[in-house]
């Protein structure tokens, strides 16, 4: 019995149950049950996967299955996971689970919010388990569209503008992506849309690869906040409600990196090798530029959004290095950034929910007012700037070591440039921490504010534990993703 379709079935069941739910209690019950089930399922999958691997299953993809659903175009619902997707599924489950608690008290239209939220997660899960180009693209779109409503309806600030911008830019990316996918399909002359079969054929002529690699890479890169297609990120994140920011930065942006790796590079290897330098330059710019922009922002969410640009830039950067270590690092960075950013956005949302401002110039001394959130924020900050013992350090170091092992001056130079981001990160993180958490509270209104409620504490603790677990015991994840990375790289 293949358990992967359950990842789709549970969200669908949740959607139905939410549809029928009558009041907020039922809605919450559905969400908690569903997301807990998903979490349990992905933990089970992870364990089972590792056991299968240890038992000597050496196929690239495990749990594979395929159901044809549109013969004439060879579109099938084919599924399968390797170490990378398992890790991503686990990440998604954690974020969906914690995101549920982070939006525990969301008003108004809680039911509708969760409906879209679940639909988004449905898309994410579907994307990670699919191995069929078209199905993947379909789930990708499923994940993107709810974003518009989630931001446009439940957001804050210039929400309509941001939602529109985010959606348009991501849709623009999808357009590129669709072209890329069609190019791959027709270029390879394949009679299947299954990525592994296309990869095995390795029949796409080089000149076609040159056209479609950039398209596909940029298509996914938009979602991965590739410079200069990252500008949806600050506005989108700033206006999105807490759990949407979490899910978006935590999981959705990972779709970009994952897709770049799994589709763009895997299926178009020659072009990937030849054109990588262009994107390496772009991602290097992303890394440093995002960090530098974050330094002079004054809105908490903007700071974090730019920080995401920088960190996600590092993911793409590492992928393009095409060494096993760097790519493993990239996956680790996706996990790590997913968890850390989710934590960050959760905390920012909670702080914003109390102070009703995100301007760092207006807040001071929050450590005294809301110690739990402040300590959480410091931990998130330290994790973000790469403190050993948290996931960020492991990921960044793996990336840097891997990137540095490409033996030529260009790669070395960009690696060193990318390294500087760790200093800049420290600057903007500490700037914020020093500004808003430390010092004496000077706003009398803030002094009356309360600390975290149980659901918020739960969210924060869950995420901190995950971040720390990944940082302290990275070897199992590194082994888990290592095999997947290896088989993809062997094709490039």
């Amino acid at each position: 019995m293949n358990i992967l379709p359950v990842f789709i079935i549970i969200p669908i069941a949740m959607l139905l149950a939410l549809w029928c739910s009558r009041n907020i209690r039922q809605t919450r019950a559905v969400m908690v049950t569903g997301s807990t089930l998903l979490l349990i399922l992905s933990v089970y999958l992870t364990i089972d996967f590792i056991q299968l691997r240890n038992a000597g299953e050496s196929a690239d993809m495990l749990y594979t299955a395929s159901w044809s659903w549109y013969e004439p175009l060879n579109i099938a619902f084919s599924i399968g996971v390797d170490g990378i997707s398992v890790a991503m599924l686990l990440l998604s489950s954690i974020i969906v689970f914690t995101g549920t608690f982070a939006s525990w008290r969301l008003q108004p239209m809680t039911k509708e919010f969760f409906l879209w939220y679940t639909l988004l997660s449905l898309g994410v899960y579907g994307f990670f388990i699919s191995t069929d180009l078209f199905t993947m693209f379909m789930f990708y779109e499923t994940a993107l569209i709810p974003m518009y409503l989630l931001i446009g309806v439940w957001g804050s600030g210039r929400k309509e503008y941001s939602a529109m911008k985010l959606t348009l830019m991501l849709m623009g990316g999808s357009a590129f992506l669709l072209m890329g996918i069609l190019g791959i399909y027709f270029g390879s002359g394949a009679t299947t849309m299954n990525i592994h079969e296309i990869a095995a054929m390795n029949a796409i002529p080089t000149n076609i690869q040159y056209i479609f690699f950039p398209l596909t890479f940029i298509g996914f890169g938009v979602l991965g906040a590739l410079f200069p297609f990252h500008t949806w990120s600050p506005d989108g994140h700033a206006c999105a409600p807490t759990s949407v920011s979490m899910l978006h930065a935590g999981v959705l942006m990972k779709l970009g990196g994952y897709g770049c790796f799994r589709i763009a590079m895997y299926l178009l290897p020659q072009a990937a090798n030849d054109l990588a330098w262009i994107f390496i330059i772009l991602t290097t710019i992303s890394v440093v530029y995002g960090a530098l922009s974050a330094v002079s922002q004054t809105d908490l969410k903007y700071i974090n959004a730019y920080s995401s640009v920088s960190h996600c830039g590092l993911v793409l950067f590492a992928i393009l290095m095409m060494t096993k270590t760097a790519c493993t690092g990239a996956i680790l960075q996706m996990l790590s950034h997913g968890l850390m950013t989710a934590l960050f956005f959760a905390l920012i949302g909670m702080i914003y929910g109390r102070t009703h401002t995100r301007d760092i110039r207006k807040m001071r001394g929050l450590m005294k007012i809301m110690p739990f959130l402040a300590v959480g924020y410091v931990i998130a900050g330290l994790a973000n700037l790469g403190l050993p013992g948290f996931s960020g350090f492991v990921a960044e170091m793996t990336i840097f070591v891997g990137a540095f092992s490409v033996n030529d001056t260009f790669h070395r130079a960009v690696t060193i440039i990318a390294c500087t981001s760790i200093v800049i990160t420290a600057v903007y993180i500490l700037r914020v921490v020093g500004r808003i958490l430390y010092g004496e509270p000077d706003n009398d209104e803030f002094k009356k504010l309360s600390d975290a409620t149980w659901d918020e504490k739960f969210t924060v603790i869950c995420l901190v534990v995950c971040v720390a677990a990944l940082g302290i015991a990275p070897m199992w994840v590194s082994d888990l993703v290592g095999s997947g990375v290896g088989s993809i790289l062997s094709n490039i």
């Binding site: 348009l168 830019m169 200069p228 500008t231 403190l387 793996t398 840097f400 070591v401 390294c419 200093v423």
Partner: protein, 641 residues
């Protein structure tokens, strides 16, 4: 030596307990928990060190490296992996002793010093974290583990310096400390990357073959690592964080900025000493010159500071530089021929940790008594604080290099090594040693001699000139004086430890013998420095002092402002990086890149507006378009047929 894992486990346990459950504990319970755990760690460390040295030398006559633990923490592919473990070498055993001793003293001392402070439990939690990371750093089995703990040390010092998080200066200082050291760590990291790639391992002792292959890049890699070390060890121009870091609680200064964290750079160079000597002797000399310059710079600045902790901070920078110089002047690995500096450096590290810890703790006691860091609020304290006075004097004598206190022995070795390297270097360092004696005694006299601020104020109060009765200075409680006494005792005796028996550049036993010429010179110079200080400051600021101050007003002013190094850095960071790079980039992002996409959207909208009239609902227009289209198609068809 399996029990050695406890050295790391216990402080970590202490940290976790205090951090998670600290708020539910009373101050007393938290303090005692922390201190007892550290006592245990100290005992185990002593035992480990003893065990290590007692195990005796191996066949080559050296203390072999023992690795009780080592496991692969993170495989990085291509043969590289990050290992975690515990490695014992002579210097790490020595460091264990130093760190746990000073840390224990600080723990005990803080019971009194921090009494009643808000966040007492947090303080102890951070102390445990710091001790954990520092111990992890010194027992690292490989350079990457060292880097990991190096970063942890950075963070825990950030937390400790910023302990008074409501004080703006403390916030700024902690931030500065972290960022400056982080900046240096960047170079360290790059150094490690180069090293790891070319030697194929992160181990301190790669195989001969790997080293030969990497010989061309090793000097660069080692230099970069040294820059990392220079950041932590506050070498010029990365020293700027250290004086500011004095905003932290004084015991923290004693722990971090006197005895442990700041010597991490020295330790790093010492740990990599064999590589330096064999593959990058030139780099070592660069270190020597950098150190010598820093030593001079810091000593000069120390002469004119008014905040007693700042004086101590600069004195620390200067003394650390002595250690760096000692390492840098080595030209070979034989202690009899060019390798003396290594032993001298480690020896000085050991003795300095003790007496500098003592000085800081003493300063803490004084600050505790007069509630100020400024020298003008002190003066004549010897009557009120006899124990502090005596112990402080001992430390001052030690740092000035007066026998039989420990500083004399170690500094003498350093100077001997410098003379061995070159005469100018020797003379230069001797003069700085004299300068050290001068500024330390200046400090001593200003605190304990001269006109008492309290008495002056009391007189004014009696005369009705001021309202409030001044606070009478009092001797510190036992929890604070006990560490002072213990450290003073160590300072008196440590010089007689046959240090060379345990640690030397090639591991073989080396008997310390005093170089009479060097010793006599340095004692004379130290005495001269003390004499000058006595003449100038024993009765407050004498006429000579005032005269000197007046004639040298400009240079003194400059030195007081640390030769404007902070301003220079501030200019670079604030003006150039923040205003000229970051701001424009943020602006660029909003107004160029983002605007481009907005413009795209606007253009699309414009196009939409442009074609909208075509769909205005006017059937006539529709029909015109329809017919034109149809005609066009017909024409095309005709053309084609």
């Amino acid at each position: 030596m399996e029990y050695s894992i406890l050295i790391l486990a216990l402080p970590l346990l202490g940290f976790l307990t205090l951090a998670l459950a600290g708020n539910r504990m009373s101050h007393r319970a938290a303090g005692i928990t922390g201190t007892l755990l550290l006592l245990a760690v100290t005992a185990i460390s002593y035992f480990t060190a003893a065990d290590y040295f007692m195990a005796g030398r191996d066949m080559n006559g050296v203390f072999a490296e023992t690795v009780p633990y080592n496991f692969k923490w993170l495989p990085l592919g291509e043969g590289l992996s990050i290992d975690m473990g515990i490695s014992l070498t002579p210097i790490s055993a020595m460091m264990l002793v130093v760190i746990t001793t000073v840390s224990l003293m600080v723990h005990i001392y803080s019971l009194g010093y921090m009494k009643g402070e808000r966040g007492f439990q947090r303080y102890y939690a951070f102390l445990s974290l710091f001790t954990f990371s520092m111990l992890g750093l010194v027992v690292a089995t490989n350079i990457f583990q060292m880097y990991i703990f190096w970063e942890l040390v950075g963070v825990s010092s950030y937390l400790l310096i910023g302990f008074y998080y409501t004080k703006p200066e403390a916030i700024a200082a902690s931030k500065k400390a972290f960022i400056v050291t982080r900046f240096a760590d960047l170079f360290f990291l790059i150094g490690i990357l180069i090293y790891g790639y070319y030697t194929g391992t992160f181990s301190f002792t790669p195989s001969e073959a790997a080293l030969t292959g990497a010989a061309t890049v090793l000097p660069t890699a080692l230099l970069l690592m040294f820059i990392g070390g220079a950041g932590k060890s506050a070498m010029f121009p990365l020293h700027i964080w250290l004086p500011d870091a004095m905003e932290g609680p004084t015991p923290v200064s004693a722990l971090i900025h006197a005895a442990t964290m700041v010597v991490a750079g020295v330790f790093l160079v010492a740990r990599l000493f064999n590589l330096f000597i064999d593959y990058a002797p030139e780099t070592l000399h660069i270190i020597a010159y950098a150190g010598a310059f820093t030593a001079l710079y810091a000593a000069v600045v120390a002469c004119v500071q008014t905040d007693i902790k700042r004086v101590l901070a600069f004195s620390t920078i200067s003394q650390i530089s002595f250690m760096m110089v000692a390492l840098g002047v080595c030209t070979g690995s034989d202690p009899h021929a060019g390798g003396l500096g290594y032993m001298a450096s480690m020896f000085h590290l050991f003795t300095h940790a003790m007496f500098k810890g003592l000085l800081f703790l003493g300063a803490g006691a004084i600050i505790h008594a007069v509630h100020s860091n400024e020298k003008c609020r002190m003066g004549g304290l010897r009557k009120y604080m006899p124990i502090t006075h005596i112990t402080f004097l001992i430390a001052c004598l030690a740092i000035a290099g007066i026998p039989p206190f420990s500083g004399f022995f170690s500094k003498d070795e350093i100077l001997a090594a410098c003379y061995e390297f070159s005469l100018p270097m020797g003379i230069f360092m001797s003069l700085i040693a004299a300068l050290t004696a001068f500024y330390m005694f200046r400090l001593y006299y200003l605190i304990f001699w001269g006109k008492s601020y309290y008495e002056t104020e009391l007189a004014r109060y009696r005369a009705g000139e001021i309202e409030a009765e001044p606070h009478k200075p009092h001797e510190a409680p036992l929890t604070m004086t006990l560490p002072l006494i213990i450290l003073a005792a160590i300072t008196c005796l440590a010089g007689f430890i046959p240090f060379g028996e345990f640690i030397s550049s090639n591991g073989e036993a080396y008997t310390i013998h005093l170089n009479t010429k060097v010793a006599v010179t340095s004692i004379m110079l130290a005495l001269a420095g003390i004499a000058l200080a006595t003449a100038m400051y024993i009765k407050g600021e004498s006429r000579i002092t005032v005269a000197i101050n007046r004639t040298l007003r400009k240079p003194i002013e400059a030195a007081y402002h640390r030769f404007y190094m902070d301003e220079a850095w501030l200019f670079v960071t604030k003006k150039i990086i923040f205003n000229c790079i970051s701001r424009p980039i943020a602006w660029f992002d909003r107004n160029v890149i983002d605007a481009t996409f907005d413009k795209l959207a606007k253009i699309t909208h414009k196009c939409g507006t442009f074609v909208r009239p075509l769909q205005d609902g006017n059937v006539q227009s529709y029909s015109i378009f329809f017919l034109s289209g149809a005609l066009l198609i017909i024409l095309i068809l005709l053309y084609l047929i």
